[in-house]
Structure formats: C-alpha cells, structure tokens
Symmetry: C2
Amino acid sequence: MKKNILVGQSGGPTAAINASLYGVVTEGMNHLDEIEHVYGMVNGIEGFLKDTYLDLSEDLTQKELDLIKLTPAAYLGSCRYKLPKDLTSPLYPTLFRKLDALEIGYFFYIGGNDSMDTVSKLSRYAAQVGSPIRFIGIPKTIDNDLMLTDHTPGYGSAAKYVASTVREIALDASVYQQQAVTIIELMGRGAGWLSAASVLARKYEGDNPLLIYLPEAPFDFQSFSRDLTDALRQRPDVIVCVSEGISDVSGRLICEYNDEARLDSFGHKMLTGCGKVLENFVHNHFGIKARSVELNVSQRCSGMILSETDILEAALAGAFGVCAALEGTTGKMVTFHRTPDTPYAIECSLADVNQVCNREKPFPKDWITCHGSNISPDFHSYVLPLIQGEPKRAMSQGLPVYAYRK
Amino acid sequence: MKKNILVGQSGGPTAAINASLYGVVTEGMNHLDEIEHVYGMVNGIEGFLKDTYLDLSEDLTQKELDLIKLTPAAYLGSCRYKLPKDLTSPLYPTLFRKLDALEIGYFFYIGGNDSMDTVSKLSRYAAQVGSPIRFIGIPKTIDNDLMLTDHTPGYGSAAKYVASTVREIALDASVYQQQAVTIIELMGRGAGWLSAASVLARKYEGDNPLLIYLPEAPFDFQSFSRDLTDALRQRPDVIVCVSEGISDVSGRLICEYNDEARLDSFGHKMLTGCGKVLENFVHNHFGIKARSVELNVSQRCSGMILSETDILEAALAGAFGVCAALEGTTGKMVTFHRTPDTPYAIECSLADVNQVCNREKPFPKDWITCHGSNISPDFHSYVLPLIQGEPKRAMSQGLPVYAYRK
C-alpha cells in the first residue's frame, strides 16, 4: 500500500535548506510506486500540530521546484518548537493521530541539533507504540556544528558569503591611509566554523583579516591589545573577525561586557554584540578610528553567492534520506563523509539521531593558531571544496527571483 | 606637445568608482597623439601632495584594467581632504609645481560633492594664475545626491544591492509565525535615494518592506507607532527600512536619541545607529520581538550584485570627461541626462562644478507618500533602469577575484 511523505523545516534559515526540501520532494516523486503524496508542514511541527500543511507533489510545478532549490530562507516556514521530553505527554498520541490521518509513512525534518531532538523523540515514541512511520533528520545549519558528519548543508554557502563579504570590507577599509580597525562580527553561536571561513578572504599572505577570534579559545582583552598592536605595525587598516559567541576565560560572553551600561533614552536596556564592545575598546584604548560591522542575517539568508557544491549536497541529503526511509531506516540523520580521494567527493551515510541531537561539534582546537588569533592551513584545505561553484540564479528586472508561498 | 593625465579617487568607496577610473585610463590611452602618460594619485590629492602616484598607462595590463573595472572600493586609494578655501594659500603654488613637473595637462577627480569642491578650487586657481591645466570632476556616490545630473555612478549598484538584500532579509523574517519587526538601517547620509531603493524588494503588492522612512520627511515616533500598528494588522513579519539620516521635526537625528545613555562598561560613550534606536522603541512600546540590521559598508563596497548599467555608465563618465578635457573643457563635472526615449538611454553632458560642489540633491518630496512612510511608483520608474544587467565577474577557487595595488 502506498504511503505519503511529510517534510518540514525547522530552526534558522539557510541558503540551502530549500535545496534539501527540493531533494526530498523530487526523490519522493521518483518513487510513485511507493509514495502517493509529498506533504509539507507549514512552520514545522508547530504548524503541523495546527493542521497547516501543503501538498507539495500536487501544488508545485517543476519550474517552481527549481526556483525553490535556489531560494534562501525556508520555503515552508520554520519554527523553534521543542516537543515534550516526557514521551507520555498527550501531545504524542495527538500528533500521531494526525500523521495516521494523512497516511504518513515517512517523516523528514530538515534542521539543526534542536530539530534532530524532534526526530529523536518522534522515532522513540514510534518505537514505543509500534508505529511503522519512519523518521529521518536532514542536517541543516550554517554553524556546521552537527556531530558525526563532515559538514552540514548550508555551511558552504554561508562560508562563501562570509569570505567574499570580508574580502570586500577589507578592500573598503584599505582605501584610507589613516590607522583604523574594523571589527567584523560573525554568526555561529558557540561554534567558530563560520567565523573561521573569514580566513579565506585573504588575497595574499599578510592580507586581512589579520586577526580571527573563535569561541573555542577564551578571549582575553590583554592578549587582544598585544595582537592588535602587532597587527597595526604590519598595516594601518586592520580587520578583526570575531564570532558572536566569544567569551572570556570565565565563560562570560564578551557581548555581555556592556549590559549594565546600555540603556536607551527611554531607560530601557539595549542589546549589542561583541563587535560593538571591541569597537569601543579599540577606540578608547588605542585612540584610533574603529568601526564594527555585523554581517547579521545575510550570512544565513543571502542567495547572492551560493556554493553550488553546498546546494547539490543539500539536495542530495534530502534525496538520500528518502531512499533510506524507503529501505526501512528510522531514527537516523543523514551524514556526509569525505572520501580519501582527490578531487573532493563525499558519500552519504546515516547516524543515530540520538548521538547528534542537543550536542555541538566544536571547531578543532588544533586548527586555532597564534594564541587564539589565527586559523591553521588545515582548515583551509577542509573548507575550500565546500564553497566551490556558483549555480545560475533566476533574475528578473535586475533582481533575484525567489520562490514564496502564495 | 603631448601632455599627461592625472586621475584620482576621493571620498567613500563605491562599487563603480573603479569603472570610472577604467574609463579615464582607457580613453586616455585612446589618444596617444595627445596623451603621453596616465598617472594615478594614490590616496587622492592628499597622497599626491606627498608625491605618491603611479603610472597607470605603463603599469597596468589590459587584463588588470578589466579586473579593476569590476573591483569595488577605490583601486588608487582615497582621501577625505579639503583644500584651503583661501586660494592665496601657499599650498596651491606647491601643488601646481608638482602638476607642472609631471607635465599634467588634464586632471580628473572621481568623487562626490566634497571632491567637486576640490575640482572647483583647482580650476578657479588655474584661471587666476593662467595655468592651462584642465580640471574635470567625474561624479561618484552611492547617495545619488549630486546636483544637475539625473543620477550618479555608484548609485545603481548600491540600489541593486539594497533591494536584493532587503528582499532576502524579508524572506528570512517571513519564516516564523510570531509577530516580529525587523528594522533595516540604510546609508545615504542626508539623502533618501538609497533607502528608497528598498521599495524594489517587494515581490508583490503588500509585500515587505511595509514601511520606508527617508531623511527628507521628519520622523515622528507617534506616527511611526500608528504606521507600525497598521502594518502589524497586515502581517506578523514587518520590515521597516530607514535611512541612517532620519531626524525629528526639530532636526535632531534619531540616532542621537540614545547618546546620553550609551556608555560601555569602561565608562565610554557608545555610538549606535537609528536602527538600534527604533529596534529598542518597538521592543519596549509594542512588547514584541524586534531586531535591527545595519547593511553597513557592504552597501557601497559589495561587488556581488553589480548593476551592469551602472558599471557601463561609470566607465562612460570617465571616458566622456577625458574627451571633454581634450576639447578644452575645465571646471566642469560630467552629468547624465535621461533621453525621453524608451527604452532607457542617457546622454552625457557637463555642468559647472561650482553649481555642484557642497550641495545635496534631496529625494523629491512628492515621491514620498503615506505621510512619510512609503515611496511613490514614480520613483520605481526612475530607479528600475539603473539596476539592470549583471556583468560577469572573475571567480577563482569559489571566491571573487579583485584587483589591488601591490
């Protein structure tokens, strides 16, 4: 008997999450002997609990699917919704009644470690109650911090955007002669993978960014002063890249160094990032021009400089997940393994989702050099294959065309 | 007798300023019967006063010139240097001795209204002392605020970047169901041209950005509250685009609303923009999620989504300036005039640089609608031709290749 697919997107947007959706839908429709419909939850599991879903296999033309593949953010909408830890919660039978009513046989959730927690809980509940529904996680995060996979879909495009943008900001900073420090604050939460990609911005040895600080090494203002003094001896325009999540040796986030002081004129607390804290520190301790730039959400939602490798791998992860589920797999996340071959190639595999959820893969400490202010060439070799190629995007009247739900 | 060209870049970087440099150099080399060398001042007039210049006609290959054309920022470096108002200052004879020593016959300065002030002073001094050197201004600014020209090189690419990026941020904001307001702060100093381009981000009627505020209309917190309340009735994810230079009816900049309060933990004053002020206002007065995004320098230095029209016109402005100087013109800035024809076309002309310098062309008040919160379709027709086409950029190992001075 034919069954249906249900697919959802969860957590923060990326430039490749829709390519994984594309992979699930197109592979699902390649198996019309086993699959009747491919449904998409609108706003993840939270939306599905409110019965909001679409029939993707009916509603989308091939042209629309192709457009979705290269559209950033999350076509189906997303959520940040944690299922109850207690599997005896009445929410589970409610949810499974909804799945059964739609004759769902295969459930795919595209997301990061919080989303893998959802896959873990649902697959464990299914095992308890003897439900035949198979639950598969499709990895997605610009943070690249999922365990048991070489890298995650979404990371390559974000790394490419970061490297390109930092290269451009370095050009911008180089036009004046005066000493000036530019702090670029990058995403990644507690993991330094994305900030480390700023090292690719260097056009030659000794080029900016001269200093790069990741959350995996404790940040110390005295060391930073020394590093910056040395850097300013090399060139007047110094670019410093920092992860949003850098903290001091006690674990206190650098972005919290201003908390007590930042009140607006209405008397309310203001939130700023660590880039602003460092900008102020440089301005006041070095007495030179300092500015900070937060790349902000564009790191995760820009479609301007996608990595074709990333998009293809994201689609592959979705398709591989569908094949694995059809072959009987459940409670697993799709993973990537780099083959030892040259040129670069990956193989897909599967990992126990319980080993992935709620954990973070830190940036390797031995790839952090110069007392925490630089990145090893080993990382360069790791990341370079992930940013290769540019897919051809649809443009109309001078602007990118993106898919959206009507 | 053959003479030499001296060309410089001044003021803030843009994505098209190097295309104008390309135009000056290539057109200069088209007139080898009249031109011997094309020299480039390094760091504008300030650098030239310190004898730093290059021989662009000797040092650059055609391949390097082609790369420079699509490289953002300012290949020659820039300065923010104001010549003395008093034309009897000893600096003028010093400078002209340097020009004569290099046998300069034609001087081109690529920049905004401050740079046109330099052209004005030098051409007036030349007239006083009977120097035959001809001084021409090549317009450049992302702010689009130069008088007597339909638009300025650099604006089209910046407008395209803003429209594309706002479109992507709007997609990012649309993935969650919760009410949330995103404030996007855009450049343009006192002029709203660049922020107005955010209107192009809308994919359909009623799409974001729902609210757009320009410096040309006074900003009022009460009106903003009403506008935002209405907008939140339309959709939960509201994008508000604001110019960095918005001010209240008394002329007080909105970004200054926090000045008194922003001290960091070292007791020093912190500077933030109006986006952060509005973020805080929304958060505290509406009690909903608010975030602010500053597009920052990428608006002026990104090469990711150049407007081919802008690049071609920037090069044309440089070339036209060279031809005009060779024909005897001095003390003028190159201008663009839109022909009445369809499709869009421009003609180059010349304006008295004294009528351009130190003045700003504001965004037309009758293109600001909805009590200062929206933009008229007339602007849409004005700006759309300026963002058309994408030049093919050089890429290497997954990243854009940009020219730089060795």
